[in-house]
């Protein structure tokens, strides 16, 4: 077996040294009733050669339609961007890929330094003072942000906008479900008309919004932030498409107290949605309430600058049931991919990439606006918009377009099957990978299906 270095000779010699008769003998503390012999796992196959595994998994992969192989307009929280080849090359270096969590800083300066760079980049693009070394994803990040807001304000009421990604909402509700925190989830709000300001009270721990929202609407949140602060509440802003921060005023500049982002779209392929990387940034004064790991600067015995994991007194291996979060593993490697891609982009590239995305979306929207029987909803957007197909079932239209070789977007019914008023809604997204021919293919297929 290719991954197992012990030979039978080794095993014999080691057993002799141990003084045991057999390997099974070492398991003598296992009660016989709980022991399963080698033939006790029916239905599970024996070991296979690398060639065989490769064939079988390649056959499974071939049964999928790769998003990049056809014109593709899916977003809804997962955005397809072009990733420079250097990113994947570097994250596959064994010293990054196969390293453990950097608890031993003397031999983990590589990981710690890139986490410090990551934290700085996240803070810069969100317009916040500090950021942590990542969360699992944005959905769990929003849930943690809500809990953090409750710790800071010592309040127990969380208000979730109807414009937040339905998965972020569902995860937050689930996460807080058995705590003493009350989560108020407003109805889906495709038109961006809900009255959040009117709902903020002296009991509100935080308001959670998304910008651009799940339906593509882009908004200025400054007034909402002011209202929250007036009531002693915090404003939590989720960002599903991190590329938007290259063009749009960052949440920090609008007054956000906690910003949560999904970083997946920068540096990582779609991967059917996971693993992602949650970006998490806040004000400096809240840092001791922040969940997740933190890399901090310090010096070594010889006075040389170096980095360590710090403020670990917030963490569960020290605080146990009083920890800020139960999270242990984070998304180190996806954070690395994010940081490398961001570093390749830099100021010039990141802002240009954002502008390019917006212009592609404008081109798509201008084209869509000429399709009969289709209405673009958001007036202001970044790279994604909700459209309505009055009288149509959007999911059916998507299936019809898939048969024509176009992955046409995400029907809202996938998230809100019990809201018939959303059945004609469809999310469409364009990125730098979208070209004019793709848009033409979409428009002509849509025109045909809607006729």
């Amino acid at each position: 077996m290719r991954y197992l270095p012990l030979t039978d000779d080794d095993r014999r010699a080691m057993l002799a040294r141990i003084g045991a008769a057999s390997v099974d003998d070492l398991f003598r503390d296992v009660p016989p009733a709980a022991w399963t012999g080698p033939d006790g796992f029916d239905g599970l196959p024996p070991h296979a050669t690398e060639m065989a595994v490769e064939r079988q998994l390649s056959a499974l992969a071939a049964r999928n339609v790769a998003a990049g192989s056809v014109p593709s307009f899916l977003g809804a929280g997962a955005y397809r961007h072009h990733i420079p080849a250097a990113v994947d090359h570097l994250i596959q270096r064994g010293e990054f890929l196969t390293a453990y969590t950097p608890y031993q800083p003397e031999v983990s300066q590589g990981t710690l330094q890139y986490l410090f760079e990551f934290q700085t980049q996240v803070a810069l693009i969100t317009g916040m003072e500090v950021a942590n070394a990542s969360m699992y994803d944005a959905a769990t990040g929003v849930a943690e942000a809500a809990a953090m807001a409750c710790r800071i304000t010592r309040r127990k009421h969380v208000l979730l906008s109807g414009g937040v990604h339905p998965h972020y909402r569902a995860v937050t509700e689930s996460f807080l479900r058995y705590t003493d925190i009350e989560t108020e989830c407003l109805a889906p709000d495709p038109l961006g008309v809900e009255d959040l300001m009117g709902r903020v009270t002296a009991q509100t721990a935080c308001v959670v919004v998304q910008n651009p929202d799940f339906y593509g609407n882009l908004a200025d949140l400054s007034a909402l932030a002011a209202e929250c602060h007036a009531e002693g509440a915090l404003l939590v802003v989720a960002v599903a498409e991190p590329v938007s921060l290259g063009l749009v005023t960052p949440p920090g500049a609008m007054g956000a107290d906690i910003v949560v982002g999904e970083g997946h779209a920068i540096g990582s392929p779609l991967n059917f949605g996971g693993p992602g990387v949650g970006l998490f940034a806040t004000r400096k004064k809240y840092v001791r309430h922040m969940p997740g790991r933190l890399a901090g600067e310090t010096v070594d015995e010889e006075g040389r600058r170096g980095w360590v994991l710090t403020l670990s007194t917030r963490e569960q291996h020290i605080r146990r049931e009083k920890a800020t979060s139960n999270i242990c593993t984070n998304s180190g490697l996806i954070a690395l991919a994010w940081t490398i891609h961001m570093t390749l982009l830099g100021e010039a590239g990141f802002t240009r990439l954002a502008r390019l995305n917006h212009m592609k979306a404008v081109e798509m929207v201008e084209a869509l606006e000429r399709v009969p029987g289709l209405k673009v909803v958001p007036r202001h957007f970044f790279n994604e918009v909700m459209v309505r197909l009055p009288g149509q079932n959007a999911a059916g239209v998507v299936d019809a377009l898939a048969e024509r070789g176009v992955l046409a977007g995400v029907p809202l019914s996938r998230f809100y099957p019990t809201y018939p008023e959303l059945a004609d809604g469809l999310l469409l997204c364009a990125t730098e990978t979208t070209d004019t021919a793709d848009i033409e293919a979409l428009v002509s297929a849509l025109t045909e299906v809607l006729r």
Binding site: L26, S58, A66, G68, Y100, V107, E117, V365, L407
Partner: protein, 489 residues
């Protein structure tokens, strides 16, 4: 070689990516365009490649050496897994493509589920948790949901042994439970009598790690689990140490109601310097109806991804965005298919053999905490260092200069100055011997009274010991531009 931060390199004009000129159409931003620079540095591709190559060279990693980290199962990460996860048919899939276009991906998730259920004998599996602690949360929330469904509102106590991972109490607290400790006995196991005495009708669940964090199999496990169920509570197993028993012990046969499985430990997916992991949670029949969304369902026509409540399911909710750590699933599946059930059984045997061999080689010189065979990790305490002026920490730091990652230190808490060593099955005898030789030589050195050698270690690393107190007292968590050139925000 010192490597500056990216913010201390480059210039905002530089760019490591070429992008086409955007069209010049009227924007639709509604006036919320960013003003002023962000403050990001700009580097060309060669500079970026060199920077991150150099950073990587400051890391230790399983590819470069042995990690005897107890409770962390740092095993070889096969590159086949990486190649499989990067097939365009897996890597380039959008989570919300129509089901008909992702049948292979759903099948991969289905196959992974079949493996996990086959190996554990459990009824259901929730794939979506993002890592071990998240999987714990999943299991405990399922328990809470089951209690709520049967109206057992009085059950709010969770029993956790003193030797448990710190995530256990943190997780229990998140589910609205109070934690009560259970003492261990002098054999390093749960004290059965004390355990039974603690089981009253306010107990919601017991969280137990098995093999436990002392590296021992809880030999009374069947008595414990029977008692838990008789008391009307649920039995949560922490799966961090599953690697010791995979292919030999079915979790269902231990009476477990839930257990998370760290794919990045037992099933060889890379730790990546701290993630991503994946922590699928297997559930008993009692908890299966409460499994969180989404579910994978196979029917005659193919696979379906169930994203909303259907039929009589009572999911407690959703753990994660999209469908879980799919990229990790592919890697773990690739590993399981490669190893097969025979290979996994051989692996747990070799892991336990390696640990007992470490125990045998070190037991005369170091001080083992408990008697008898261990499972896949060997636990020692610091009695052998008594009077030497060398602490467990010093000893561990000295290991670094010998070319080894330190063992797990000061965990489990039930042992003084603990050193927990887990040589996984992917270390050769030569590698384990070299490690033991180094430990024995250091122990002799410590006993010979050369304390300064230890307190000054490590010496041959990119950095020597770092000032953690300074870091925590005055946290510097990001780079700031030098004062005169303060970037506009």
């Amino acid at each position: 070689i010192e490597e500056p931060l990216i913010f201390e390199q480059g210039s905002p004009d530089k760019c490591g990516v070429d992008l086409p000129e955007p069209d010049d159409r009227p924007d639709r931003l509604g006036g919320v365009a960013r003003s002023g620079p962000i403050g990001l540095p700009g580097l060309s591709e060669p500079e970026v490649v060199r920077h991150y190559t150099r950073l990587s060279q400051k890391n230790y990693a399983i590819d470069a050496g042995f990690y005897p980290l107890g409770s962390c199962t740092m095993k070889h990460n096969p590159r086949l897994n990486e190649r499989m996860a990067r097939l365009p048919g897996f890597a380039d899939l959008h989570p919300f493509q129509p089901e008909s276009t992702v049948q292979g991906a759903l099948a991969a998730m289905g196959h992974l589920s079949d493996w996990l259920l086959g190996l554990t004998g459990m009824e259901a599996v929730a794939l979506s948790p993002g890592a071990g602690a998240h999987g714990e949360l999943c299991g405990m929330q399922a328990i809470r949901a089951a209690l709520d469904a049967r109206g057992a509102d009085e059950r709010r106590v969770v029993l956790v042994p003193d030797s448990a991972h710190g995530t256990n109490p943190a997780t229990a607290a998140l589910c609205g439970f109070q934690v009560r400790g259970i003492p261990g006995n002098d054999r390093g196991r749960v004290d059965v009598d004390a355990f039974k005495a603690a089981l009253d009708d306010r107990v919601a669940a017991v969280m137990l790690t098995n093999p436990n964090t002392c590296g021992l199999f809880e030999s009374d496990i069947l008595e414990l689990s029977t008692a838990v169920h008789e008391a009307g509570a649920y039995f949560y197993l922490d799966g961090a140490n599953f690697n010791a028993i995979v292919g030999r012990v079915r979790i269902a046969d231990l009476g477990a109601d839930a257990m998370h499985i760290n794919l990045h430990k037992t099933f060889s997916t890379p730790h990546g310097g701290g993630g991503p992991g994946a922590g699928p949670t297997v559930l008993s029949g009692a908890l299966a109806p409460f499994a969180p969304l989404p579910h994978i369902v196979a029917d005659g026509a193919g696979y379906r991804l169930v994203e909303h409540v259907e039929g009589d399911m009572q999911p407690f909710g959703r753990m994660k965005g999209f469908h879980g750590q799919f990229g990790v699933f592919v890697r773990a599946l690739s590993y399981m298919m490669s190893m097969g059930v025979d290979g996994l059984r051989q692996a747990s045997g070799d892991a336990v053999l390696n640990a007992n061999y470490v125990m045998a080689r070190l037991r005369e010189t170091l001080t083992p905490s408990f008697e008898g065979p261990c499972m896949h990790e060997a636990l020692f305490d610091d009695r052998f260092l008594k009077g030497t002026g060398v602490s467990t920490l010093d000893f561990a730091k000295a290991m670094i200069d010998e070319g080894f990652h330190p063992m797990t230190m000061y965990f489990p808490l039930v042992v003084h100055g603990a050193m927990l060593m887990e040589p996984t099955e992917t270390e050769s005898k030569e590698s384990v011997d070299a490690f033991c030789d180094a430990v024995l030589a250091l122990a002799d050195k410590a006993k010979a009274g050369d304390a300064a050698f230890f307190t000054g270690a490590p010496r041959h690393t990119p950095r020597r010991r770092l000032d953690e107190t300074k870091a925590a007292r005055n946290p510097v968590l990001r780079w700031e531009p030098p004062a005169p050139a303060q970037a506009a925000e």
